[in-house]
């Protein structure tokens, strides 16, 4: 092997930066790495899009016409009602991706490499969640287009509609931190995928996403009304103008103030799970 000793001039002295600047920069380096990976495994993005598109089509044509929303069983009314639910469910599925990705990095020894580098402690996880956010945004764009095709419409101004999407992205971002914690806690990427998905089903079904919570038994209804996931769904329906005609919001505080409730829940989840995940990362064995 022809090798020359590394010359001092070739190696620039590592720069010292402020903690925050370094954290942002390191996170972006990692986010870039994860985005490159996504582009090189396009099937991941494609499957990530096909699944919610299937949900949109299946739910709106199979359930539409059978489920009464706001006292009407019209398929059109259900379709408008449904979309916020599917959007929100789709963004929470980012959990599984983040979890599997980080578990895979652990498994392959990459987390060890990163932990042995003089980089910001939370950057590996922040970078991953940021890259997931980009993927989630991309999925939402495609999904919204499909929703428009099957007859979904918004009835509020653009600012409100965009705010709805921002809340969806924030929810997805929050859930990818839950995924990060799961990914650091399990032994294999496969376990992270299933561990990231199983609890999402009760969470998204015991909510107002697919059927109005008012029809549920009392105890489920209370869970559904205080479910963080329901808050975002409710907020989107309000911001998109997708409440069925004659709809009256339940008395529970999050259902009365869904935008605030959604914001508070998402920020709370980010703070709690980011803290737990970064702590777990620092001591990952």
């Amino acid at each position: 092997m022809t090798a020359t000793a590394p010359t001092a001039s070739a190696v620039e002295a590592p720069q010292r930066r402020g903690a925050l600047t370094q954290s942002v920069r390191d996170s972006l380096v990692i986010a870039r790495r994860n985005l490159i990976r996504m582009l090189r495994i396009p099937e991941m993005i494609i499957f990530g899009i096909i699944q919610p598109v299937m949900f949109v089509v299946l739910f709106s044509y199979v359930f539409g016409g059978s489920i009464a929303v706001g006292g009407s069983t019209s398929a059109e009314a259900y379709r408008e009602f449904l979309m916020a639910g599917i959007f929100a469910q789709t963004v929470t599925f980012a959990t599984a991706g983040a979890g599997a990705g980080i578990a895979d990095d652990m498994h392959k020894g990459l987390i060890d490499r990163f932990r042995s580098l003089p980089m910001a402690r939370g950057a590996v996880l922040t970078g991953r969640t940021l890259a997931d956010l980009v993927q989630t945004a991309l999925t939402l764009v495609v999904l919204a287009a499909v929703a428009l095709l099957v007859g979904w419409r918004t009835h509020e101004n653009l600012g409100k509609v965009l705010l709805g999407f921002v809340l969806l992205l924030l929810l997805g971002y929050a859930f990818s931190w839950i995924g990060a914690l799961i990914g650091l806690s399990v032994r294999t990427p496969e376990a992270a995928t299933s561990g990231g998905l199983i609890w999402l089903f009760p969470l998204t079904f015991i909510s107002n996403a697919f059927v109005p919570a008012e029809n549920m038994p009392a105890f489920l209804r209370h869970i559904a009304e205080w479910n963080p996931f329901s808050a975002t769904v409710q907020a989107c329906r309000e911001l998109f103008g997708n409440f069925p005609p004659g709809y009256r919001a339940p008395d529970a505080w999050p259902m009365q103030h869904p935008v605030w409730a959604s914001l508070i829940w998402s920020v709370l989840i980010v703070v709690v799970f980011r803290t737990l995940a970064v702590r777990k990362y620092r001591s990952a064995a």
Binding site: T4, V11, I36
Partner: protein, 344 residues
Amino acid sequence: MPGAIHAEGLVKTFGKVRALDGVDLDVPEGTVLGLLGPNGAGKTTAVRVLTTLLRPDSGRAVVAGLDVLRQPDEVRRAIGLSGQFAAVDEYLTGRENLRMVGQLYQMSGRAAKARATELLERFRLTEAADRPTKTYSGGMRRRLDLAAALVVSPPVMFMDEPTTGLDPRNRQQLWEVIQELVAGGTTLLLTTQYLEEADHLAHDICVVDHGRVIARGTSDQLKQRTGGERVEVVVHRPEEIDPARAVLAGFGKGEVAVETHTRRLTVPVTGGAKLLAEVIRELDARGVEIDDIGLRRPTLDDVFISLTGHSAEEGQAAAEGGAGNGAGPGEGGQGPRSRKETDQ
């Protein structure tokens, strides 16, 4: 004056397993310490503690003059780690991997890029530089992993089983790189299960088993503990064993050991190749026909067995090749073996 790597009384337990049970190490600047031991001996745990990846239950460690427990960030700036697995992102190209690591070592984007190009050249990866590493062979991945550990030319390097799973040719190439590094002044701690590797690369060797250092010294010192060189003869016919024994007894410094079913006789000697020639002439004069004869130095595997009562390779007779040519173990290349240490 403590060395570039210095550890005292490291203890780490996982449940009931004492992965490290009071390990002391000292590696003077610019030298190579080989941590030699079987799977599960605690080698990887020791590396993980010294590279700030794992906190020990007790004990202290200093790397490049920095306290591992109190100044982990400063330590990370001063070390390079090449772990047991080639830790590169398989979907990124070789160039992208190195550039990313450079940036995470806080180099500017441009400097990281330039350094990546330089390292790719040095490790003969220029041609494959822009292919995802998924397409690389095992040897190429290992080289890239090592290159990643060298991005900032750290003064202290840790390599955890750097050649495990490599074929003999790739191993040889990696050894050359490691020797160049050390010639350039790098301090290196290297773990290995290959006795030959420790013999070849390390100035000092610590033999570890069950979380403890059970012997330390240079390769020669360790071999001395097992005794010096010996002559080994395989005779052609069983009835030649007795005359051969008589000849060897005349030259030997100890008892002649006989293995009847293989017709193999061994005796400790001093006097090297010159003595060997005399033994051959004498055997010839007595009409003893020999199948094989050689001067055999004790291998590190002999050392290991005499220290622990079991082979470092547990069942794999690596010393096999030693008969006849005196070159020690391993020239046939060693078989694949489990890459996981149970102490993780």
